[in-house]
């Protein structure tokens, strides 16, 4: 089965050659979101309290996930839906394809869903001979381009309007001026027809409310509503981490989500889907299937610190503030989820042997931690995963190359033994003297050239101890 799950993520190789237009497009959009966010946050004097409550709600839910998932399942079934449990991507894809095949579905319309990107659903459907159409504008664009999302909430953020116009002209054979309104109109025309034709709609969910079995979908384009109401069958693929206990919890999280994401008070559409159509007088799908996706999440739950990763409500704010993400874009992170949250989510789901480079893809500046609406301790988890890479733990062998692991041990000796350290500080100025050019060392041999390639190194001097002893 072909999906986009990588065998190894080469963050280092990818970031050597970032096309120049990517950081420009990414920074333009993310800075706009951040500006809006700041204004919305300033309007709420209890923002920090809200974050604390949200953190407690999310952690409580994760610590009692078995209870809430069981409650959710019971409620969904009572509302007339069918619940499926998928242990991994392949199982989730097979369940969707199975439902589609049973109903002779030929065409599927899709609302934006990160879970479906995670499981590679479009590729799976296409191999099964089922056409699926992304209906969120950003997803529509990246589906045309044949790539995955480069941002959690704005999947085509790396593209400028001129590039989108070119893409439309090439792939759709239409005249496409680089104007957002006209480009949207082109997509809308094409999608209208698909909405009417599709026998099945697929969505994700932002939240699942356990007490009433309600699916909550937050969108700005209205396509989510059309996908979940027009076709006769609605299938939702949702990670098990999306459950919230009740409507009271939801109100806290909704207050934080749109404000953190785009800087809106609420997104344009917030849809609550609790039951299937109750008869011919009511519109809506006749069948509702909820696929609850694990895909490694229960394994993360066992780790008390790693668990906090799953508190994430996918607002994308950590990407918007991250100086690394803003300079490299989403594709450097190698999978459907990028930025700081991707750097901690991916290594835990796919394993550090595949994603060992990601925990190091951060300067640990902590900007993400300050804005995260549910207080995911991203830098703590990055450090936790770095340790897993270089030292391993009882379940995971270290994946870092031997020379790096040896370097760590040698470095430790130098700092651990005071006389060795002092000898070093006395010797280094002499050893590096030939390289010293007016107080700077412009180039050093490998591996130290990884520093001097970018900027010179200050020449070593051992004056302080000498000065002190006088």
């Amino acid at each position: 089965m072909t999906d986009r799950t990588p065998n190894y993520i080469h963050f280092s190789d990818y970031t050597k050659h970032i096309p120049e237009n990517i950081p420009v497009a990414v920074q333009q959009a993310t800075n706009r979101f951040l500006g809006n966010r700041e204004a919305r946050v300033a309007e709420l004097p209890n923002w920090q309290e809200l974050r604390q409550v949200a953190h407690e709600i999310r952690l409580h839910t994760l610590e009692n996930l078995d209870f809430y998932l069981t409650q959710l399942e019971r409620q969904v079934v009572q509302n007339g839906g069918v619940v499926h449990w998928a242990a991994n991507s392949a199982e989730a894809r097979a369940i969707v394809i199975d439902i589609a095949t049973q109903h002779q579905v030929k065409t599927v319309v899709k609302a934006k869903s990160m879970a479906s990107e995670e499981i590679g659903l479009n590729e799976g459907l296409s191999e099964a001979g089922i056409q699926s159409f992304e209906t969120d504008l950003g997803e529509f664009i990246i589906q045309l381009a044949g790539v995955g999302p480069s941002h959690i909430i704005v999947p085509a953020v790396h593209l400028k309007k001129e590039e989108i116009a070119n893409l439309f002209a090439n792939k759709l054979g239409v005249e496409a001026p680089p104007e957002p309104v006209q480009l949207t109109a082109i997509a809308r025309n094409i999608l209208r027809e698909k909405f009417l034709k599709a026998e099945m709609g697929i969505s994700g969910a932002n939240f699942l409310i356990a007490e009433t079995g309600t699916l909550v979908i937050v969108t700005n384009e209205g396509n989510g509503r059309m996908c979940t109401t027009m076709p006769d069958i609605h299938v939702a693929v949702v990670g098990i981490d999306k459950v919230v206990p009740d409507w009271d919890s939801l109100t806290v999280l909704l207050k934080l989500l749109a404000r953190s994401a785009t800087g809106q008070k609420l997104s344009t559409y917030t849809s609550f889907i609790s039951a299937t159509s109750r008869g011919s007088s009511e519109g809506g799908p006749k069948e509702f299937h909820l696929i609850l996706l694990d895909n490694g999440r229960t394994r993360i739950l066992h780790d008390p610190l790693g668990r906090e990763t799953l508190k994430c409500i996918r607002c994308g704010c950590c990407l918007n503030v991250c100086p690394v993400y803003k300079n490299v874009g989403g594709y450097a992170y190698g999978w459907f989820i990028s930025g700081p949250i991707g750097a901690i989510f991916t290594p835990q789901i796919l394993g550090t042997h595949i994603a060992q480079e990601l925990p190091f893809a951060s300067s640990l500046c902590g900007a993400c931690v300050d804005v995260c609406p549910v207080k995911v301790p991203i830098t703590e988890i990055l450090l936790h995963l770095r340790q897993r890479v270089v030292e391993g733990n009882q379940h995971v062998k270290p994946s870092a190359p031997l020379w790096i692991r040896s370097a760590g041990k040698i470095g430790t000796l130098a700092f651990q033994i005071p006389w060795l350290y002092q000898l070093g500080t006395r010797l280094l100025p002499f050893l590096t003297a030939p390289l010293n050019k007016r107080g700077w060392i412009p180039s050093l041999p490998p591996p130290f050239n990884r520093w001097t390639r970018v900027r010179p190194f200050p020449a070593f001097s051992a004056r302080f101890r000498k000065w002190w002893s006088k």
Binding site: P323, S363, K409, F448
Partner: protein
């Protein structure tokens, strides 16, 4: 030292001190870092004086991460608690512990300030620095655009991903140069090494200096 002497504080330098272990800790060598941290505790456990460091990230390591290395139940736990409770970054020590903001310094130059990430977000020290800078005579402080964005150092990050670090550093240098200052001030050895290197590479005459150098100055050119 000049500043401390001016305040009638006797500094002690323990010759056995090396490093707090942060470079290893942040590279994932938690067990190795613990060996260095144990040495640190031993070295500074010989007296009960305040421990003052000129580098925000080192203090952040001691204050916020040592408890992970020596959790309750470990033999070093009590010593760790004692040491972390009396470790201060220099500006924090002056403003919050000694409670002084005017050191009688004079620095007749145009400067800007880069708040280092671990000082700003890790230790929450920011106002303290501005209070100290406000106390410096003849100093012209220009606000730095995107001041709170990381300079791209990030310890091991800068050598693991030099190409990404370069982009971040270049943004910082561009912002510093836009302020048209003579000096950029920071309170962290890592940021200073990165920014001063970046300025040198860019052929700029702007100098990156530590806040202490400004506070120690009493007039003429540095």
């Amino acid at each position: 030292m000049k500043i401390l002497q001016r305040l009638d504080i006797e500094p002690i330098f323990l010759p056995n001190q090396t490093c707090c272990g942060q470079p290893l800790f942040n590279s994932g060598f938690k067990n190795q870092a613990k060996l260095i941290a144990t040495e640190f505790l031993k070295t500074f456990g010989v007296n009960d004086y305040p421990i003052v460091s000129p580098s925000g990230s080192c203090v952040d390591m001691v204050v916020h991460h040592y408890h992970e290395l020596f959790p309750a139940g470990t033999p070093e736990h009590d010593l760790c608690k004692d040491i972390t409770s009396r470790t201060y970054e220099f500006s924090q020590f002056l403003v919050n512990f000694i409670k002084i903001t005017d050191l009688g310094a004079s620095f007749p130059h145009k400067v800007t300030y880069h708040p280092s990430c671990h000082l700003l977000r890790g230790l929450g020290v920011n106002q303290e620095v501005y209070q100290l800078l406000n106390g410096v005579r003849n100093l012209q402080l220009i606000p730095l655009p995107e001041a709170e964005t990381c300079c791209g150092f990030g310890g091991v990050f800068s050598v693991v991903y030099p190409d990404v670090s370069r982009k971040m550093m270049n943004n910082k240098i561009k912002n510093i140069l836009s302020t048209d200052v003579e000096y950029v001030i920071a309170n962290d050895a890592g940021c200073l090494m990165n920014i001063s290197g970046g300025l040198s590479k860019a052929g700029s005459s702007v100098k990156a200096i530590h806040l202490i150098e400004v506070l120690a100055s009493t007039g003429g050119d540095q």
